[in-house]
């Protein structure tokens, strides 16, 4: 083999084997769907209907990180942290010690708002910048590599302009990526079936590097939870619907049966 052939071989191999470093979620089945995990520094929108398992998924993402020694942060705006921790304690994968030792840092958005003097009902540009600064400060100071904001919908309700929501998410995502932090933004949607938006305001889905949709398929009067990775920049991935089960060991996934992946009739749950 001469040197030219060797060079060609290396070039071909380099192009075909390149893969971005991954944040291995540790969630059973999700890393397989993502062919190894979420590309580092991505901002992923986890959109889902109520009861679809968004919060559990977000919390397990942090717990798996904490188990690997990563510093994690959770900003909760939908339920008080006391309640969140109480609900999450039933899962065997969660250990309160992770919170006590500072591996998982849970922040109440209400408290953060209050500390920043953001007691008003709507946020202006200055307020949005203050919020971005405080979140990135926290990430930077304690070296957070996994972040969950639950939910970005509740947070964005206070930002009245679509442009400002876009700026907020774009700037936040960019800064967190620079800090090497992989982020899950939880978004509440009313329908995860056909013709649904993947976000509440329509702008989040364009900004996010990845979109994971969670919802329910109705089968003969029963609701089956599903998860579907719609988009993930920087990696190939399955785009199939996967059935999920919230077990004491965490979220478990399996591909949804092709003949049962559509809701029967035209029912759009919660729509």
């Amino acid at each position: 083999m001469n040197s030219v052939e060797l060079g060609e071989t290396i070039a071909v191999q380099a192009a075909s084997t390149y893969s971005r470093d991954r944040c291995v979620t540790g969630i059973h089945g999700l890393d397989e769907i993502l062919r190894g995990g979420i590309p580092y520094g991505s901002t992923v929108l986890a959109s889902g209907t109520c009861g679809s398992g968004k919060t559990t998924l977000g919390m397990e993402f942090l717990v798996r990180g904490a188990l690997a020694g990563e510093a994690c942060a959770h900003f909760t705006a939908t339920e008080p942290s006391v309640k969140l921790l109480e609900n999450i304690r039933q899962y065997a994968f969660f250990d309160m010690n992770m919170v006590d030792t500072g591996l998982i840092n849970v922040f109440d958005m209400d408290v953060l708002y209050s500390w920043l003097g953001l007691d008003k009902s709507t946020f202006d540009l200055d307020d949005v910048h203050a919020l971005i600064k405080s979140i990135t400060d926290i990430v930077n100071t304690i070296g957070v590599t996994r972040l969950v904001i639950d939910s970005v919908t509740t947070l964005c309700y206070k930002i009245k302009s679509e442009q400002l929501i876009r700026d907020f998410l774009f700037t936040l995502g960019k800064k967190l990526a620079t800090l090497g932090c992989t982020t899950i933004l939880i978004s509440e949607i009313t329908s995860a079936t056909e013709n649904a938006h993947w976000s509440s305001f329509g702008v989040e889905e364009a900004i996010a590097d990845g979109i994971v949709v969670m919802g329910d398929v109705e089968r003969m009067g029963h609701l089956l939870r599903f998860l579907q990775v719609v988009k993930m920049r920087g990696t190939s991935h399955s785009r199939a619907k996967h059935a999920i089960e919230l077990t004491p060991l965490g979220v478990m996934l399996t591909p949804m049966l092709k003949w049962g992946a559509q809701s029967d009739k035209t029912t759009k749950w919660g729509a």
């Binding site: 089968r219 029963h222 089956l224 089960e245 049962g260």
Partner: protein, 194 residues
């Protein structure tokens, strides 16, 4: 006096962990065939496992085993029937798990995988009782697809899958697929009169 079919045990002794066995039975010999299959797995091969009950409530099956002096407390049961009966889930057996309905096939698979992740036994089986019961609720193509996934999932994990089936009550599409996917067949579809 309850008599077990010893030839089933002999046949089972020839199969490996990544096998999938279709066990055919008739209406009247279902429990005898079930017991003749389960007992060697539990006692001869010292296996643990999961029993998926879609034909009858798990309590009824446990009590049937107890009546012939077989302890099944180390077997985990996934009951697909009792949630459809008001008060059916109010049971004292700690080894029974409930799934809302036999149509929630993926949930059954995930729940089985979850139990297998928590089990301490080295060698395990999954006993599906039965395909014809699942066929009452599920559309043929979906059930055929499910069995395909089900069998391959456990073969890949080296968990022995045993699938009970009353052939004359199973849709032809499902039956032919089952014949195709399973590695072994224990055929007690006809009642043998001794």
């Amino acid at each position: 006096m309850f008599e077990l079919d010893q030839r089933i045990a002999e046949q089972l002794s020839t199969i490996s962990l990544n096998s999938s066995v279709q066990v055919r039975c008739g209406n009247s010999n279902a429990f005898m065939v079930t017991a003749s299959t389960m007992l060697p797995l539990m006692q001869m091969f010292e296996m643990g496992g999961v029993y998926i009950s879609a034909s009858r409530g798990a309590v009824e099956i446990i009590q049937a085993f107890e009546s012939i002096g077989v302890d099944v407390s180390n077997i985990q049961f996934i009951d697909l029937v009792s949630s459809g009966i008001l008060g059916g889930t109010d049971v004292t057996y700690p080894n029974i798990h409930f799934v809302d309905s036999p149509i929630m096939l993926e949930s059954v698979l995930l729940r089985t995988l979850y139990i297998l992740r928590t089990t301490t036994t080295q060698r395990n089986f999954v006993f599906l009782d039965s395909v014809n019961a699942l066929a009452i609720y599920n559309e043929d193509r979906m059930l055929a697809e499910y069995l395909h996934t089900f069998i391959n999932t456990f073969r890949q994990r080296e968990v022995l899958s045993v699938i009970l089936n009353v052939p004359d009550q199973t849709p032809p599409l499902v039956l032919s697929n089952l014949d195709l996917y399973c590695t072994d067949l224990v055929d007690r579809g006809q009642v043998v009169i001794h």
